[in-house]
């Protein structure tokens, strides 16, 4: 059985309780539970601010913003979301269809 559209194109939300400090060119995340800090560059900041969009939508945002090829943007989004998920900073959206 093939994966559902939502599973192929998941949506994520920030882990509840994270503290954000937006320095405009850099976004710093602090997890009060683990006391770990993470820094997102401009690309990461754009994706973070649009969390809730699915991966295709995120890729289109990056492609438009940086005037980059859509496939390159899609790869960047996938890589970033994987890193954020491994770090425990994002969770699947509960209201995803």
């Amino acid at each position: 059985m093939s994966a559902s559209p939502a599973a192929r194109n998941p949506r994520f939300a920030p882990k509840p309780g994270l503290i954000e400090t937006d320095l405009e060119r850099e976004l710093v995340l602090l997890d009060p539970e683990t006391r770990q800090m993470f820094s997102l560059n401009e690309t990461g900041r754009i994706v973070w601010r649009a969390l809730g969009d699915d991966e295709d939508e995120l890729a289109r945002r990056l492609s438009t913003h940086f005037q980059a090829a859509l496939e390159d943007a899609r790869a960047d989004v996938r890589r970033l979301l994987d890193e954020l998920a491994r770090a425990g900073l994002i969770v699947p959206r509960a209201d995803a269809p």
Partner: protein, 309 residues
Amino acid sequence: MRPELSHSFAVLGRTVSAASAPASLIAWLEEHWHFAEYQTPPHSCHIEIDSSATTRQRSDDPLVHGEAALADGALPFARHGDCWTFGDAVRGLDVEPGSDAARITVRGWGDAVERSLAIALQLALTEALRVSGLVPLHASVADGPRGATAFLGVSGTGKSTTLLHAAAQRARLIAEDLCWLDPASLTVFGWDRAVRVWPETLRRFFPDVSASAPTADGKVLVSYEALGASGARTARLKRLALLTRDEARRSGWEEVEPRAAVGALWEATGVPLSDGARHSVSLAAADLLRRLELGRLVLGEGPLPDLVS
């Protein structure tokens, strides 16, 4: 029947009122929270402390347990929606922080101050003031010709010693351990009553200044006046200095990465309990890091540089 009093005073423009409070609670509030010398414009926030309620707040929201981080441990709490409860039905408190009004219900405050209840009330008042827009800083602060510098660092890094260095350089002392910052005006207000320092450190910088008998941890208390500070201890903040102790490096000023400054600032201000306070402090933190000078002060080999010019 134990006498109960009502009392009201301003904390940086915010009104704190205590109804039906035992005298020991009023005295505690006066000692830790009333600094009449700080005259600021009135603010709409009203913090009400109620000692008359005997039943715990009820809520239909799910009960969530957590811990509030302290400098020397953690304090457990239970959260019902926007109400945090510390302690139990006999001795404890509930706090409901809000941007214009906060309600703190205290249970079991006796004639003698019980430490965990006092810590909980300290947390509750801190949270209420955070939501109202102020930022607490565990920092030492010294004022110079161009403005004040807040020295940030975890316990043991050297905040107090650095402050005495600054005093020896004729800086005006603002705070040794705790201050409150109004991020809109960048005005910082010293919030400790005396300088707490190791006796040998005091002797090193001010051999002729007298101090209290050592406290339980061996440190002594010195009045700000004895160290040359007079009048209201307020100043305009211009710089955040991250202290780094490293005997392998030369003492002096270095540049600091914004991310490191973010970490140090959150360490100094503490993580708020409520989403409202976290949002308020997050915005303030980002704004402060844009407006203030940032630097790393290495406490290493050799004499310290000018600390406040």
